[in-house]
């Protein structure tokens, strides 16, 4: 409970009084609150994993729950906190990364204005993310889901006088909103059939194919797909939007317009994995529907591959990282779906969660590193960098560790989680496995392309005055580096599994060889191409031709979206609607008035001012009435 409340208090405090009274102390207050929250989160997770086990199973513990908004009998929104292994894992991750980012921001954002707002938004985000993670109720999940979205919106648009930032924030919000529509309808469907919004109850009712609710839901269908599949697909769509899964990923690269610490927090480690978390949260239900699982697997794999390909071509450091994030999330996503018959059930789940955990460390480390670099060179473009290894040794080291980790080089964190995923995929779906391997290689390639471009390529130039950032920026990097190194050694499968029972995992050496080999090959290629400035990259890209251009242009997905929104929504629907409103509906109303008025003008001749006409009309009136009365109405 206090875990949740501290960031909230911090947000409220800063939000309301920040500008006038607390602008100087905003950072300290928020960081302090975050520090406390992290401590509590770790304590909470520790005590849960330490003592929460009954009969060998980690049961979900519902810390508290309030009725928030009842809809109808049984269906109501409740606000509460549930702690189960994934939630415990997530709160630690969220709090820890958030703390790191807070600390970093103390240094990074020093020179910016409106710091109170910045920290307020950060606090709001942390609060919402924690609320999301701890949701007991599917609607609560949705509520915090939206709140996370809006804090992301606010933070991306923090530099609100930069049109690009404003546009990016808008885009992020709208795309995720569009996905949320699916989520919402999915919720409606689930609520309608299961008559509950409570997550444990819901899982209980749908986690078994033989309950009345499951059968009702599987029985009802639309367009040949059962209601359950619809609901799950729609939920997944919501998750895909937030987690930047293809094709709803387009907001993520643009979201890099926000301050870099924010990208580290939200768009690398926490918010973007919300979709994965959501699928994991409903894993027992998802696992009931093989078709949906397949779809998730393929979309996840496709997303991982496409993002990896695009990442190879981008030149903006943060965008590369963004696509990398997208690719890794695709990884996690398909990992979740890997529960084929000849594999230990739940291995994919554990692997996905594990990767989420490890990824948080090295990806935020990468962003922090990138932040430090951008802070120094004041540019996001790779061209502006190069040869920085001497000027910022610590950053260099951290970045290197992170790259190794993400490339899956043992014994760093990424290796273990990736290994588990590939093991699960190998046993469940060979096609996905193949894609996984390819992506693994590509990852190593583009990460080291980045690494070499930044820190090598040019000769180090020491004479420039700027030096590496201060302690406040170094500390989180160091901490995260440690995390990136050791996180893989965590006995993850003992704690976080699909059904709460510990899972025995081991590294299958045979299966570990190909990815590592591929990764090393990728690194080698990258080193060859980018360690020194040379002609090769340009030639290679020329050789790839249209594929390169397509990847560079992000496969034209943005253009397609732009076409849909600008041409179809705005021009084909919005404009006609507005036009119709003014020129048809309103014109009809005005036309009524004009007709009346026109009639009034036409019949003026009746009142001719000539007395004899009057008498004649008078007589006409008598005649009409007589005819009516004597003949018509007889």
């Amino acid at each position: 409970m206090p875990v949740l409340l501290l960031p909230l208090v911090s947000f409220v405090l800063l939000g309301i009084f920040g500008r006038r009274y607390l602008s100087a102390a905003a950072g300290s207050i928020a960081t302090l609150a975050m520090l406390l929250a992290t401590g509590l989160a770790i304590y909470c997770a520790y005590s849960y994993f330490d003592g929460g086990k009954t009969a060998g199973i980690y049961n979900a513990v519902i810390a508290f729950r309030y009725e928030w908004l009842p809809f109808s009998e049984g269906v109501s929104i409740q606000m509460g906190a549930i702690i189960d292994p994934i939630a415990a894992m997530m709160i630690v991750v969220v709090c820890f990364i958030s703390l790191m980012v807070h600390i970093l921001s103390l240094g990074y954002m020093k020179v910016e204005g409106r710091l109170h707002a910045y920290y307020a938004f950060l606090s709001l985000f942390t609060f919402s993310m924690l609320g999301l993670v701890l949701s007991t109720n599917i609607f609560q999940l949705y509520i915090f889901w939206e709140l996370v979205g809006v804090s992301s919106y606010l933070l991306i648009g923090f530099y609100f006088d930069k049109p690009a930032a404003v546009a990016a924030s808008k885009k992020a919000f709208i795309v995720t909103r569009f996905a949320d529509l699916g989520f919402l309808i999915g919720i409606l469907l689930l609520a309608f059939y299961t008559e509950t919004l409570d997550i444990p109850t819901l899982i209980e009712r749908l986690g078994n194919a033989n309950t009345a609710w499951s059968m009702a839901m599987a029985g009802a269908g639309f367009m040949g797909i059962s209601a359950l599949s619809w609901a799950l697909l729609l939920l997944f769509a919501g998750g895909a939007g937030k987690s930047a899964i293809f094709p709803l990923h387009i907001w993520l690269p643009d979201a890099m317009e926000g301050p870099t610490p924010v990208s580290a927090l939200i768009h690398a480690a926490t918010m973007v994995v919300a979709g994965v978390y959501m699928v994991a949260r409903f894993y027992p239900v998802f696992s009931m529907d093989a078709m949906v699982m397949d779809i998730i697997a393929f979309i996840g794999a496709a997303s991982a591959l496409i993002a990896a390909v695009i990442a190879c071509t981008q030149t903006d450091i943060k965008r590369v990282l963004a696509y990398s994030t997208m690719s890794q999330i695709g990884y996690m996503m398909f990992a979740l779906a890997m529960n084929g018959s000849n594999v230990e059930p739940g291995l994919g789940f554990t692997a996905g969660m594990f990767h989420l955990f490890t990824h948080a460390f090295f990806k935020s480390l990468l962003f922090l590193g990138a932040g430090a670099i951008i802070h120094l060179v004041h540019s996001n473009e790779l061209q502006a960098m190069g040869g920085l290894r001497k000027r910022m040794p610590l950053t260099h080291a951290a970045f290197f560790i992170a790259c190794l980790a993400i490339a899956g080089i043992p014994p760093l964190a990424g290796f273990f989680s990736k290994e588990e995923i590939l093991t699960a995929a190998f046993n469940a779906n060979r096609l996905v496995y193949a894609v996984g391997l390819l992506v693994s290689a590509l990852t190593a390639f583009y990460m080291f392309r980045l690494y070499f471009s930044i820190f090598w390529a040019k000769e180090p130039a020491l004479h420039e005055g700027h030096q590496e950032a201060g302690l406040l920026m170094k500390l989180p990097m160091v901490l995260l580096s440690i995390g990136a190194v050791i996180a893989g050694w965590a006995p993850f499968a003992r704690f976080v599994t699909a059904d709460g029972r510990p899972l025995q995992t081991h590294i299958d050496l045979l299966l570990a060889v190909p990815p590592v080999t591929l990764a090393v090959l990728g690194i080698g290629l990258a080193a060859m191409l980018y360690k020194k400035q040379n002609e090769w990259p340009a030639r290679l890209s020329a050789a790839m031709g249209s594929l390169y251009t397509a990847a560079y242009k992000k496969f034209y997905i943005d253009e397609i979206y732009l076409f849909v929104t600008k041409k179809i929504l705005f021009n084909a629907i919005g404009r006609p609607a507005a036009w119709i409103d003014r020129h048809v509906v309103d014109a009809a109303m005005n036309g009524l008035a004009h007709t009346t008025s026109a009639i009034a003008v036409r019949i003026r001749a009746l009142q001719s001012g000539k007395i004899q006409n009057y008498t004649l009309y008078f007589f006409g009136g008598v005649a009409i009435l007589t005819v009516l009365l004597l003949f018509v109405w007889k």
């Binding site: 003026r604 009142q607 001719s608 001012g609 000539k610 007395i611 004899q612 008498t615 004649l616 007589f619």
Partner: protein, 102 residues
């Protein structure tokens, strides 16, 4: 004896002749004359009804007497108005007195 209906038709004819005059005569005084014809036709009606159908009372006769009186009053006022109108308009053509319209 003449049937009642003949007298009534006569009066109706007179009525409509008067009406025609009222509709078409542009001189206001002649319009007034047409009105007198109309009133007279009604008088004939009353008298005829009284005489032919309801001779036990004198309702129709009295009605006629009062109509005649009122016709006189009406004519007097109308003529006064027409004379006044002539003063301001210098014409008693009904077509000329149509300033107010629409």
């Amino acid at each position: 004896m003449i049937p009642l209906s003949h007298i009534l038709v006569l009066s109706a004819a007179l009525f409509f002749i008067g009406m025609y005059g009222l509709f078409t005569r542009r001189n206001m005084i002649t319009m007034l004359m047409a009105v007198e014809l109309i009133l007279n036709s009604v008088n004939i009606n009353f008298v005829a009804f009284n005489k032919y159908l309801y001779p036990d009372k004198l309702d129709g006769i009295f009605f006629t007497l009062f109509v005649i009186t009122i016709a006189a009053a009406e004519a007097a006022v109308a003529i006064a108005i027409i004379i006044n109108l002539y003063r301001s308009h210098h014409s008693i053509d009904a077509e000329d007195a149509g300033e107010m319209k629409f």
